[in-house]
């Protein structure tokens, strides 16, 4: 029993680590724009499809190790490129205007990317190169898959790097000021447009790595990946509190744990139901997420206006 629970915990944390990366990407974008990028998952899928395309076209000619490395690079770069496209088309032109329009525009691009992906690789399942062919490690009754270790290691490394970037670099300072108060950031001379673009690239690259970790474990990429990663990233971000990076990490891990537990107890479909149910409950009861910020109290806001 305990061994099962520990295994569930392990599986949950591994999945959660990937979700955390997705959630952090969403949060970075939201922080600088105060808008949701609905095409985020699709851009990651685009990167994944480039990796699968590489495998389909050149998989036989390249040694496995090289193929895996190239696929990783192509996936992250593809995601970043797609993210650049989205930022320029959907968000930069609508900066000071309608937020809904920008979000719907990003949804339109999601449709574009899915259509493009289907044109590139028409089949539903497309093999994705995995770098490791190691047997799982058995510690007593626990099974530690190589992908688990890889996910933990990579996610931890990225977390440390990101923290350093945000707290100790000039770019990190600019990012945090924009997220904290866009108006104030302008008064100290921070170029909101440039920083937003860079934030997008960073978020796409991070998401690309998260996607790579998942695809490497699944060893395939399907057209559903866009929707799937959007949902996971979104839930992770909201659970931890919209706009909080540590929150997104905790939210991602929590989501992974809840899903693994739900699956172990009730099966895969109820698992999804629980994930969304948890999100809904958190939003209704404590909208600011775990690191909450309050809801709008209209009466208080009215008083302030006066």
């Amino acid at each position: 029993m305990i061994a099962d629970a520990l295994q569930t915990l392990l599986n949950g944390l591994a999945a959660g680590a990937a979700y955390a990366l997705l959630g952090v990407g969403f949060t970075l974008m939201f922080g600088v724009m105060r808008r949701l990028n609905l095409s985020y998952g699709a851009t990651l899928m685009f990167g994944g499809y480039l990796g699968a395309l590489l495998m389909a076209k050149a998989g036989d000619a390249l040694p496995d190790g090289l193929l895996a490395v190239l696929a990783a690079i192509v996936t992250v770069a593809g995601a970043a490129l797609a993210g650049l496209y989205v930022e320029r088309l959907c968000f930069a032109p609508l900066r000071d205007r309608s937020g809904v329009a920008a979000m719907v525009s990003s949804f339109a691009v999601w449709m574009q990317i899915e259509a493009l992906a289907s044109l590139l690789l028409p089949r539903h399942t497309n093999p994705y190169p995995a770098p490791l062919d190691l047997a799982p490690l058995h510690l007593g009754a626990l099974t530690l898959r190589a992908e688990h270790l890889l996910t933990f290691a990579v996610a931890a490394l990225l977390a440390v790097l990101l923290h350093r970037l945000l707290s100790a670099s000039r770019f990190g300072l600019a990012l945090r000021t924009l997220s904290d108060s866009t108006a104030a950031a302008q008064t100290v001379g921070i170029d909101a447009r440039r920083i937003t673009l860079l934030a997008f690239l960073l978020a796409s690259a991070l998401g690309g790595v998260g996607a790579w970790l998942v695809l490497v474990a699944d060893q395939q990429v399907t057209p559903m990946f866009g929707m799937w990663s959007t949902a996971k990233g979104l839930i992770a971000m909201m659970l931890g509190g919209l706009g909080s990076i540590p929150g997104a990490v905790i939210g991602g891990l929590l989501l992974g744990l809840v899903e693994a537990t739900g699956q172990a107890l009730f099966g895969p479909q109820v698992r999804e139901l629980i994930a969304y149910g948890l999100l809904f409950v958190v939003l209704v009861a404590r909208p600011g997420g775990i690191f909450g910020r309050a809801t709008v109290d209209l009466d208080a806001a009215a008083r302030e206006r006066l």
């Binding site: 939201f30 808008r35 949701l36 609905l38 088309l89 959907c90 032109p93 609508l94 205007r97 309608s98 809904v100 329009a101 920008a102 979000m103 719907v104 525009s105 949804f107 339109a108 691009v109 999601w110 449709m111 574009q112 899915e114 259509a115 493009l116 289907s118 044109l119 929707m227 949902a231 979104l234 839930i235 909201m238 919209l242 479909q269 109820v270 999804e272 139901l273 969304y276 149910g277 999100l279 809904f280 939003l283 209704v284 909208p287 809801t295 709008v296 109290d297 209209l298 009466d299 806001a301 009215a302 206006r305 006066l306």
Partner: protein, 301 residues
């Protein structure tokens, strides 16, 4: 009218319901990614009413609208204090929960020697009441459009009323509206209920025209499309979402040659359109200008 045209017109009509549903919330300042849930609830409710409980068609359609309205109102009530994106995500979460719940739900009864009813992911077959009653695709299309016309008329009249203006004001500046005395929370819940009912009505019609529904149909794609129709056609008038549907389905049919590229081109067009017109073709300033133009001949007469 050819079968193809009838089918097309029916689709446009039914999609217009869910588009109007999202539109109503949009003008009140709420972005909902989840109106598809009430469309689906309405479809299932109306289908169960006729196929399992043997209710008359019109009553069943009303029941579908009622269930849609209850769902919308419930979510509106639970989320009334949420603003902006929190609300949007909450609606999305609820819609997905509904879809998954329908995927898990089995409710079948023996009717005329066979099992009928929602069968989880296998969907809900045999919603034949409309055709058993004598409706055919052409007359059913007329029914759809008649109900749509009534709904549109009601919405247009509403928008010109004091309540409608208050609703738009809430959308633009809820704090100010509160200062002026409006009970914004109650207005929001009522709007959510009405929007849910509109979607539910459309769902019931959908179920009876197609005779088969499954949970997969009521997914986020439908939800965000519903939003997009209003944003493309224009948020200045209830006719806007309808125009949005016409544009989308119109392009879908006229470029069937370029299957793969259609979505790429259309997506790009939408993105560019929104840069130019963030609130759609018939946005508020355009509608005002049109109204002024139309009023002029009357004055000269």
């Amino acid at each position: 009218m050819s079968d193809f045209a009838i089918g097309l017109a029916s689709n446009i009509g039914m999609l217009a319901f869910v588009a109007l549903s999202a539109y109503l919330l949009l003008i009140s300042g709420s972005i909902s990614f989840g109106q598809q849930a009430y469309f689906g609830l309405g479809a299932y409710a109306a289908g169960i009413a006729t196929a399992l409980w043997d209710w008359p068609l019109m009553v069943a359609l009303g029941f579908g609208a009622l269930i849609g309205g209850l769902g919308g109102g419930l979510v509106g009530l639970l989320t009334r204090k949420l603003h902006g994106l929190y609300f949007a995500i909450a609606t999305l979460a609820f819609a997905e929960m509904t879809r998954i719940a329908l995927d898990l739900w089995h409710y079948q009864r023996m009717v005329d020697g066979e099992f009928v009813g929602p069968d989880g992911p296998n969907g809900f077959n045999g919603i034949r009441r409309a055709f058993e009653d004598g409706w055919d695709p052409a007359t059913f299309m007329l029914l759809i459009w008649a109900l749509l016309a009534v709904t549109l008329l009601a919405l247009i009249l509403f928008e010109r009323s004091r309540a409608g203006v208050t609703l738009r004001a809430t959308g633009e500046d809820p704090v100010l509206t509160r200062l002026l005395g409006a009970d914004v929370a109650r207005l929001r819940v009522t709007t959510a209920a009405v929007a849910g009912a509109i979607a539910g009505l459309g769902g019931g019609l959908y179920a009876h025209l197609n005779t088969y529904i499954e949970p997969r149909l009521f997914d986020i794609m439908l939800g965000v499309h519903a939003l997009a129709y209003g944003l493309i056609g224009g948020l200045g008038t209830a006719l806007g979402p309808l125009i949005g549907v016409l544009i989308d389905i119109g392009i879908l049919e006229s470029t069937s040659l370029f299957q793969g590229w259609r979505m790429i081109a259309f997506g790009g067009l939408v993105a560019v359109l929104l840069i130019w017109r963030p609130r759609g073709l018939l946005d508020e300033p355009t509608v005002r200008r049109l109204r002024a133009l139309l009023a002029r001949p009357a004055r000269h007469a």
